[in-house]
Symmetry: C3
Subunit: 326 residues, 3 copies
């Protein structure tokens, strides 16, 4: 449990999605590290491998208390699935509401040899179905991780004098030198720190495009293929890929440059899609100016984004119908 | 000297008591580490062993400057007593007022071997009485530390659907992964970091109970029996033990789980009582809803809290009478 | 690129000059460390040796995005000159303005042996003039660094019951324990961290003197002669040296006490002059109360400050005339 403090908030008073993502990951890292060390054997630290798609159901405001709870829901031989729930509580009224539900996958790395993945102590399931469903989720995410690993990395180039509402107009990037307070005991960046920076860049892109107050609506699945070492410089870049009437999709890349280490080149560490919405001063969704696509690549990415948007929309409607029928 | 910044403040603009406690401890750690290294010999770091009861005489507001001064007032063979004073200064009016007076005890630990307590260079006293009074304080705190070491640790369990104003309704806990920036050169958590987190939890408990703006009024003596190592997870839990007409007493526990270290179980590292008051928007004390006790344990703790409350009240009245007679 | 957050701002909403200085230094450290590691050889970290005089052309406000860009403009055998530009962008209006232009000098230190200065890979110049001008700047700063190294260190003593507007009335100091998050990979304090603390002290001195909202107007050249090691205690002290009608000059000293290291005494690590202006609520410059000098030393320092003030003023007028003629 944590009090949301003023420095975690954007100008209009909501808590940045990135702060919530960081809290979620901290909770996941703690519960899975604790579990993986629960049996005698080599000490280890759980490293984030993947976060499933996350929806931000309602914004958390300053002065509210965020309740984070976490549960281990599945274990494979080498990985742990954690379910994290975030509830926000208005202390003055006592009102609570669900803010986020997130699913994270962790892998235990040996404290003595960071390249060694240890075995995970198995959990007990109340019913056989739980294990079967967990196994299905495990196989699905494994497949998706393999696929995205091969996706080729794109680079964002600066544009001179871009027109408003084009991709070049709102694209943004920031650099960050990885310090000790960003890192785990193994000397690698916490997944939550990376996600917070990614949300920061995505937020700047969204704000530049629509020039209003914006909030994170959802984050697509994020895979952490490559560890980022202390002392690296990371470049986080974002560009808008798609707009619907009331939402913006932003693609974010994280590139790591371990420049004090001779043996490695700059590499793409993480990439993800963030969806943002624009809000009026009283918190109502506003229409979003349409993204102007210019190049063939931009048009292709817009269509791909539209595909993801329609797929998510269809899935949500199916869930609502299912819920209505029950 | 430090400027109090917006992120150190609660919603109504006062500076959190926990931030003041952290500043006090930083000052104490610096002056005692400097003193213990003032003679040739093994280099060492002073570790916090105990903080005496501290009253928050007046709240510090944002934009005010806090002046922290520290003085070594007694040395035993293996420990240092430091007196820290905090004054707040309104830069615009120049008005100053005493905010806190705190007494802390430190023990020098060798930088080469953390389990080795070194000898403290003796200080010179202006008068023999000063040494005698210091020795009396030293014996008293030693006795109290021994006593509280044996006090058995309690655990706070969650309550399903608690009624307002019961103990279960406001009890709270947070977890924190101990990172490098929380630690001293020896890799153990700064006492001030622990106290800041304790105050944060106590503040949430108090706010949940009375649903108003609240501030720290005092902290009872805190003993630091056990060091907490980098990489541990600490759980800070708080529950209300007693309410008077205008104050709330909250008991806070700190449990450490050094889960990457095979050789140790989860242990109780620190516990303490915080007293909070409820304030109206113009800073006047408000009546506090009475705590509803349900179990025998809760009723017993309420009576014990009442005992501490009456004892403190009597002590304060005796001091005021003494002051009036002088 | 970074969003300025509420905790980086002073009460009236502008971003502290110190935060800008820290961002500038981070950008400089990243680009020069990357450059010095661009050829096979010993890995190294670029350490800040000097910052040239910097003017704060316009304040950055909360909610604005600061764009920091950096370029290597000259390399000598053992040092790198970096030009950093800061632009602030109002996301809602899209308006951009130049906030700072800074020139920094870095020296590559070996990661394996911190006392070994490595060679810098040479850069290519578009025109011979660029190299010649760079060489001239290199020689000038080298001379200035040599000169200031010999300048004898002054100490600031507390004054009992000082009168308003005297030097003793506003002088201030703060202490800071150097933690891991303040340090580079080599375990020495980032130059940007030191500059941020220096600006904090200078701001307190300025606010105490004129009791209004104040902002950093410029910082004179700062030379970093001595590294400051993790675990040291640093004392940052500031005193006013000169006032013009609308500006205040504050001298700031940084003294390091490596007290867990037997072999070293407390030493003067850095010193610099900061210029502040006083602003009304709508951001207009206010007249500043004249500094009352009492001792011979204070009068001498006032005259020296006046010399620096007049020199800067003459230089700026010459530049404006030159610009008008072009």
């Amino acid at each position: 449990r944590r009090i949301m403090r003023p420095d975690d908030a954007n100008v209009a008073g909501n808590v940045h999605g990135g702060t919530i993502l960081k809290m979620i990951e901290e909770a996941g890292a703690i519960i899975s590290t604790r579990h993986c060390n629960s049996q005698a054997g080599e000490p280890c630290v759980a490293a984030l491998a993947r976060v499933e798609r996350t929806d931000f159901l309602s914004p958390v405001c300053i002065g509210e208390v965020a309740n984070v709870s976490a549960e281990i829901t599945y274990t494979s031989r080498h990985s742990v699935e954690v379910q994290v729930n975030v509830m926000s509580e208005n202390i003055l009224t006592g009102a609570k509401k669900v803010t986020n539900k997130a699913t994270l996958w962790y892998v235990p790395l040996s404290l003595k040899n960071v390249n060694k993945v240890l075995e995970v102590p198995p959990i007990q399931y109340a019913r056989q179905e739980q294990e079967d469903e967990g196994k299905k989720r495990y196989e699905e995410q494994k497949l998706d991780r393999l696929e995205t690993k091969q996706r080729n990395g794109d680079v964002i180039f600066p544009v001179i004098n871009p027109e408003p509402h084009t991709v070049g107009y709102s694209q943004s990037s920031l650099i960050h030198l990885v310090g000790p307070s960003d890192c785990t005991l193994l000397g690698f960046v916490h997944g939550g720190v990376t996600m917070k920076l990614m949300d920061e860049v995505a937020g700047i892109v969204a704000a530049r495009h629509c020039k209003t107050n914006i909030v994170t609506a959802s984050v697509d699945a994020i895979n952490f293929h490559e560890k980022i070492k202390k002392g690296s410089v990371i470049t986080i870049s974002g560009r808008m890929t798609f707009t619907s009437n009331k939402s913006m999709e932003i693609e974010v890349f994280v590139d790591a440059d371990p420049f004090v280490d001779d043996s490695r080149e700059r590499y793409r560490a993480v990439s993800a899609f963030f969806t943002y919405v624009s809000l009026s001063k009283d918190g109502k969704p506003l229409p979003v100016p349409q993204l102007l696509t210019e190049t063939e690549d931009e048009k292709r990415r817009f269509e791909e984004g539209k595909g993801r948007y329609l797929q998510t929309k269809a899935k949500r409607q199916a869930q609502m119908q299912q819920a209505a029928q029950q």
